[in-house]
């Protein structure tokens, strides 16, 4: 995003600048939704939680002095809200409650959550486009969590078609990762040549 360095962003945020809020929103909305989806398994809930976590963050904007702090708070708040959500809809089995609650306060867990989020942020920025042909298939597989047979029925395809489309998406993912590596390899080669 043009215009904001990390430190300017934090400063703008501290001062309650709307532009800084929007920048943070744009940076983290997607990854927080994904993070929440991994717990709630429900897109609408995940979006709701992401919005409320961001709202809470913005209300407390005076309490933060670094991006690390902001992000940690965001992930932790989102996790708490997801847990509340699962509890209130009775979707959380009793035996998991204890597990979740102990994990909730484990700083290592929060750290990993952020690594995960940042990784997706980097990947998403570098890959951007998902292969369009199989977009529908992978959406049904991974968001609606349907079985291969069900996706096939829904889209009037054979199960083999569905497999192929998923594999195609995986292939594209691999390609976009390696094409980048080729590019950066080229770049380092050119670079080292001059020095």
């Amino acid at each position: 995003m043009p215009g904001y360095s990390d430190s300017e962003l934090v400063e703008g945020f501290l001062n309650g600048e709307k532009k800084a809020f929007e920048e943070l929103y744009d940076r983290y909305y997607n990854t927080i939704v994904r993070f929440c989806f991994s717990m709630t398994k429900n897109m609408e809930d995940a979006k709701d939680v992401a919005l409320s976590a961001l709202t809470i963050l913005f209300k407390k904007h005076k309490d933060f002095n670094s991006l690390t702090h902001i992000r940690a708070f965001l992930y932790l708040t989102a996790k708490h809200r997801c847990l509340d959500q699962l509890k209130s809809t009775h979707r959380l089995a009793e035996r998991y409650k204890k597990y979740f609650e102990t994990k909730l306060h484990d700083p290592q867990e929060t750290f990993i959550d952020q690594v995960d989020g940042e990784l997706f942020r980097i990947l998403y920025k570098s890959i951007q486009q998902l292969p369009p042909q199989s977009k529908n298939v992978i959406k049904l597989l991974y968001i609606d969590e349907l079985k291969y047979q069900e996706v096939a029925d829904l889209l009037h395809l054979t199960v083999k078609n569905v497999y192929n489309m998923r594999n195609y998406a995986l292939k594209k993912l691999r390609e976009s990762l390696s094409s980048l590596s080729l590019l950066s390899l080229l770049y380092t080669m050119v670079f080292s040549f001059f020095y």
Binding site: N30, V33, R34, L51, T89, V115, D153, L173
Partner: protein, 415 residues
Amino acid sequence: MYRCVVDTPEDHLIRLFKNYMGPEQLADLIHKHLKNNLSVEERERLEGWLKEGDNREHFTRMTDEEYLLQGLTILHEAELSRESDKSHMDWNGASGSARVLPMGFPIWYKVVAAAIILLLFVGGYFYLSHNRTYNKSRTGEQIVARKNVLLPGGNHAILTIAGGGKIVLDNASNGLLTKQGTTSVVKLSDGKLAYNGSTEKASTTEYNTISTPRGGQYQVELPDGTNIWLNSASSLKFPTAFNRKDRSVELEGEAYFEVAQNASMPFYVTANGVRVNVLGTKFNVNAYTDEPNAKITLLQGSVKVQVDQAGSLLKPGQQARVVAGKIDLIKKADLDEAMAWKNGKFHFNNASIETVMRQLSRWYDIEEVRYEGARTANTFTGDIDRDYSISDALKILELSNVHFRIEDKKIMVLP
């Protein structure tokens, strides 16, 4: 080009920073690993990190291709609503605006939500901000005699298929439920049903009906891509394939529609004697028979509301209220109020106790509301989250000089 060989304090600091591994740095290393592009030194740092604790386990998960593809799919899906969800953000909240919604608070302070509600009394405005900290279970005991009655609603519905068979959607597992002619009916994970038809035209039109009980809600996606959110105590009858000149559905109760555009096939909603002629758009229809009027609220696009011979064309932001065959056009409708249920809230704007109780009844499946003593003339203004327990919801209402007693599934309203 030459490098300074002496390690200055700045160099030392830079080196320290370089070796600091925050989430960004680690994510960057893992990204490079995925690209197969790690330098020797970076590989060493990653290896070092992998030796600690459960890190290797996390690393294996994070570098699994299916996991990455799923994550990216979700990010992509989220991206589609990033801009539109921005409008739900309360940007001004940070600079201390007076409007504070009970959005939920971190529970590690062992403090749960505070209810701040604006109360509007007859004879003038009277704002009361009441910041309430409470322990959920304790307040629960104060009002509720028995636990597990009057729980907030959820994704519940029953689907009646063309042959007359019934499917309880709560119990059905996700996936293909049934086939209706050439159309597959699939239950998706988030309280949503999808109809997906083949392009070939079916010879007969079959109808399905989805009904939500009190305390239920559900979403249906029709074969044309139209999405419909059904509020509690409502039902919707629709064809399983659209192979006629128009798309017609029948509604009882309340639903929000996002109609897929198709100029050659107009969309009609019939509800409680009102016909809504739709031209690719987003709108809400509230047509509960126990409400004094039917309300059609337009968010986007254009609809025509028709009752008998009378018709009225709505612009975005407008609402048509239909009482006894007459259409009243509200030029500037309270969209928050109309859309509150879909956004998981009750929104009251100068509402009478009866209006409030009718809405609560449908969501918490209250069997009967009985008024004892003098009925309050106070009106209510404010938001309550729909996932609150009934006792929390009533507690908030009690802030405006009205009291409640719960007996099984009945609620007494006391002055």
